[in-house]
Symmetry: C2
Subunit: 614 residues, 2 copies
């Protein structure tokens, strides 16, 4: 039997000897699992989650340590169970950190689906003088009632008679949303594939999915080429206002970039364009407009009436993409001008429509989209989280790449840094900034109002910290995280007072957005039982530090579940299930958009929430 | 008031003074009307048919002379009525000849329709901060529930915001089969147009139809360019068998020819391609296959399983045709390999599905398609009428063009010819051959078995006829219709014994087809109350002579109604009415195809029916 271990970076397989408990297998391969009570079932720390496969039955001891919900979600104690088949497991790193981490987008588990693409093998009786049913009608009758009689794939009628006769009237038929899309002779072993395309303002990501198994077979990303028209959505919209031909150009650019990524994924998997029958697309409302070549100009000016909201369906042949011309492209619906189909994807991913209780979903990037569900309502707002979370507009800010400080610990006057690729520190990324601020708050280097201690402070500080306080450019106070040469670095890496202010703006906006939604629904933060944190940033950020800074006011850390790129995962759900696709439409229709810019309460709350918890 | 007179060649308008009866108006303009009783209402010969407009009430005298059915069809006595509005009339030439002639295809009367293309003007409220419904959803809501949310015309989303705002949120919307096809700003006065395309093996005809009024605005025809691949369907199919690329070529040729005719009609009417939103296509099954680019090869070989039967729907953009890309092309369904959508068009035209009683429809060309309806069944067969009816394979045969003898009278030993364009006779066309044979039969020049008198016959004959009998090439008897120089002609025009035999083959096949269908339905010819004769040939042929020759065995001349190009008229019905389009599908489904080549009885009957009536 095989044991497959998933974590955020990879997927590994191990041979699993018969008769061993799961914890014995994990320990055998030196995999990280808590074993405080030496597998006696006392500590309840060896929790692991099954993604697929069968285990021995649940035990009484597990029911003591795990909630019903956790058991239903596949959590179990590794000391209590043995595998009965190949199993796929996720270890509980994140859980140990005090919050959950589920990394939806990288999930390799098969999804029980009802994809819009179906493939089947059909055999027909051979015609003779007593059975002169024409070829097309013979095929339709074999495929059955639900397939449309009206949509005939281009070129099929010229090829059909030979196709049917090549393997004695047995053919493999691919349908897309009840349209006949492809017919090949005989019984084909090839499986139909789909793609999910997540169009971020900055980054474009494409995932290749096996539609028969639901498994993601590859992912590829690149910078959204539209950045040449501006780094944010407003500058892209303004480009169209200045010159309408920019719409055509940006549409072409993004489609070409998707095509390039898709072609690469297909090649890596020995597939051809004709194997790809469906694509779902998520993105913010502006990206959705640019992909659909819809006039985006009114997204930027009152009364903010944009061009379309509903999910749009296209054919493969409508785009110069490496996919089957009869395939389908589905762009998920938008909610509002700044709550796009990516947010609908997040809502789908965490099944916000069918949850009992109250939940919040936050998709954190340059904009923060916030969703609150409960009491039969779904509310959503968008707030300018600001660039700080992405390391932009920060003095030594940088993207999360080699040399970026991503984790910071300050304890007993000592500073511990974790630097991406263990390179000399060159700057600080968003998650590093959160860490640094939280640790500086804890160490007393900044106060609740966000003021950094001046170099001449009389606050009691370890010498190692005190000597790092200084006046920087323009007389602004700053804190030296890594002095030049300290880690082989060429220059100082500092946190300035202005950096803290940028962070406060972003944190204040997100916290105020959450608070406004709670008020609108007339509930308290205590009544929220889960906060889903979506976005790549949520994966890297230490959620405990974000909570410490008050990003999610009133939400305790145990309630937070970091779900990774949930927007793309929602796209994958819509790719694999027509029910989910319908749910996306329902969500977009049902969600009430709360416009923060016209909310009287918002600015007061925002000002207050810029402070850190006391 | 105006009086509009339709006949087969033209449409003429006359000013109609108030207070005159219709017969007085007709006589005033020297229009052909029988007036045997000087408008006293005694003779009943001044029958005329109203196509549109209001007349004074029906009189008792009319009820004496006209049947209830005729009155319902608009027949009236010109001496009994006066016009109450503009009227459109058809004079009763044909009726006087003993049979009806209705010339469906040239009918200019408006058809009460429910065309697949609809155009309407919609006004929306202007959006503001309290009404932020996006533009596309705003438009959908205004247009109403039946329009598909899924089909968005290409390019609309980039243009829609400007389109809506150009005339204060009033737009003209064109829908095609519940798909949104075009949106223009403000209230448009332009009307949507459609086309009917009748693809004959030899001749291609296109009609331009105003979809708002149902009126045909122009017609154009040219030779089917596929003739370069052979003059008959079998040689075209064989071309594909020899080289499959011939399919692509013949498909391209016919589409290009349609495009040329359509472009000409649009230009003549000051219309653009974007005004044309729908096209219906009729043709025999092979022509339907070549138009749809479907493999036709199995139409020619047992078990004669062809590629498709049902009506097919395409978009305008699927073809390089001068029409709106979002428009629709509908190819009417076929019944069998040699009973195509043209025959379905004929059945639609004469409303064979809803007739009470029994009726026959014959579409006469190279092939004769025969339909019999009655007792809740519809039967159809195809029979090789042979080329004689089209003047082919006839010694001096020619198409119906300048110089063709089209009518022949033999009386008192004298011959009277009518020659197209009054040119010197160069040959004889199909209708001329029928006339000649019938008149020769009447004059005793041929006997019931089809034998032409030899030159040395002792049958009593006028000298003018006797001297025209001679031995021709290969010793075959022949009859000189026009001796060289007699009418300024360069050469003799003759009817040979072989010509008579060719005619007998064709007439025998049609007559046998009718007889087999009657037997299959177990009724007699007397029970048939109407025979519709379709096809251009039926327009020119003197039906009395065809009856004389036994083409329609047992059917008396009064029952015959020549309906002209009813196939194209059926295409027009399907263009103007969704109900008729559905009826076409129902007809194709319901019609039972009787395969004559496997009918044991057929050959016996065929041999017998080759004889002329005794």
């Amino acid at each position: 039997m095989r044991m497959i271990i998933l974590d955020e970076e990879q997927r590994k397989e191990y041979e699993m000897p018969e008769g061993l408990s799961v914890i014995e297998c994990l320990l055998r391969y030196d995999l990280p699992v808590r074993n405080d009570c030496a597998a006696k079932g006392n500590c309840g720390k060896c929790r692991v989650r099954t993604i697929a496969g069968n285990l021995s039955p649940e035990t009484e001891i597990e029911r003591e340590h795990l909630s019903k919900e956790e058991l239903d979600q596949g959590w179990f104690l590794a000391c209590q169970r043995a595998a009965k088949s190949d199993v796929t497991l996720r270890l509980s790193y994140g859980r140990d950190a005090g919050y959950r981490k589920t990394m939806l987008a990288e999930k390799e588990d098969a999804l029980a689906g009802d994809p819009v693409v179906q493939r089947g093998v059909f055999s027909m009786s051979e015609p003779d003088l007593s059975d002169q049913v024409p070829d097309w009608e013979r095929l339709l009758a074999a495929v059955g009632g639900s397939v449309s009689r009206e949509a005939i794939p281009r070129g099929l009628l010229s090829a059909l008679p030979e196709l049917l006769r090549k393997e004695d009237f047995t053919v493999t038929v691919t349908t897309v949303a009840n349209r006949l899309a492809a017919v090949t002779p005989g019984k084909s072993e090839r499986r139909p594939f789909g793609a999910v395309c997540d169009i971020g303002t900055t980054t474009l990501a494409v995932y290749l999915v096996d539609l028969a198994t639901g498994i993601t077979r590859g992912a590829a990303a690149k910078t959204n080429p539209q950045v040449s028209f501006g780094t944010d959505v407003i500058s892209r919209i303004n480009s169209v206002s200045e010159d309408f031909s920019a719409l055509e150009k940006m549409h072409g650019d993004i489609v070409a970039a998707i095509a390039e990524l898709m072609a690469g994924l297909l090649e890596e998997n020995d597939l051809s364009a004709d194997d790809l029958f469906a694509m779902t697309v998520v993105g913010n409302t502006t990206m959705s407009h640019l992909f659909a070549k819809a006039d985006p100009r009114r997204l930027a000016t009152a009364p903010f009436v944009f061009c379309f909201k509903q999910g749009l369906t296209f054919r493969g042949r409508d785009f110069p993409l490496p996919m089957h011309p009869e395939g389908e492209v589905f762009l998920l619906p938008n909610v509002a001008g700044y709550v796009g189909s990516d947010t609908v994807g997040v809502m789908l991913s965490v099944d916000i429509l069918n949850r009992s209780g109250c939940a919040i979903a936050v998709d954190l990037g340059t904009n923060g989209e916030i969703v609150l569900s409960g009491n039969g309502r779904v509310l959503a707002c968008s707030t300018a989280a600001g660039p700080a979370f992405e390391g932009a507009k920060i003095k030594n800010g940088m993207r999360a790449g080699a040399g970026a400080i991503e984790k910071v610990r300050i304890s007993d006057g000592e500073i511990e840094l974790k630097i991406i690729d263990e390179a000399p520190p060159a700057g600080i990324c968003g998650s590093g900034l959160i860490d640094a601020a939280a640790q500086m708050l804890k160490a007393g280097l900044i106060d609740a109002s966000g003021c950094l201690l001046p170099p001449d402070t009389d606050f009691p500080l370890a010498e190692n910290l005190r000597r790092r306080l200084r006046k920087g450019d323009q007389g602004l106070d700053e804190f030296v995280l890594a002095a030049k040469g300290e880690y082989g670095n060429d220059a100082d890496v500092v946190i300035s007072q202005k950096d803290i202010r940028e962070l406060q703006l972003g944190k204040g906006a997100v916290a105020a957005g959450i608070t406004v939604l709670l008020r609108e629904m007339n509930i308290t933060a205590e009544e929220v039982d889960r906060l889903f944190l979506a976005g790549a940033f949520g994966n890297y950020m230490d959620v405990r530090h974000a909570v410490m800074l008050g990003l999610f006011p009133g939400i305790s850390v145990e309630k937070v579940e970091a779900v990774g790129n949930a927007a793309a995962y929602g796209g994958r759900l819509a790719l694999l299930s027509r029910e989910k696709r319908a749910a996306a439409e329902e969500l977009a229709e049902k969600t009430e958009h709360i416009e923060l810019s016209t909310s009287a309460a918002f600015y007061d709350i925002f000002m207050r929430e810029m402070n850190f918890p006391g």
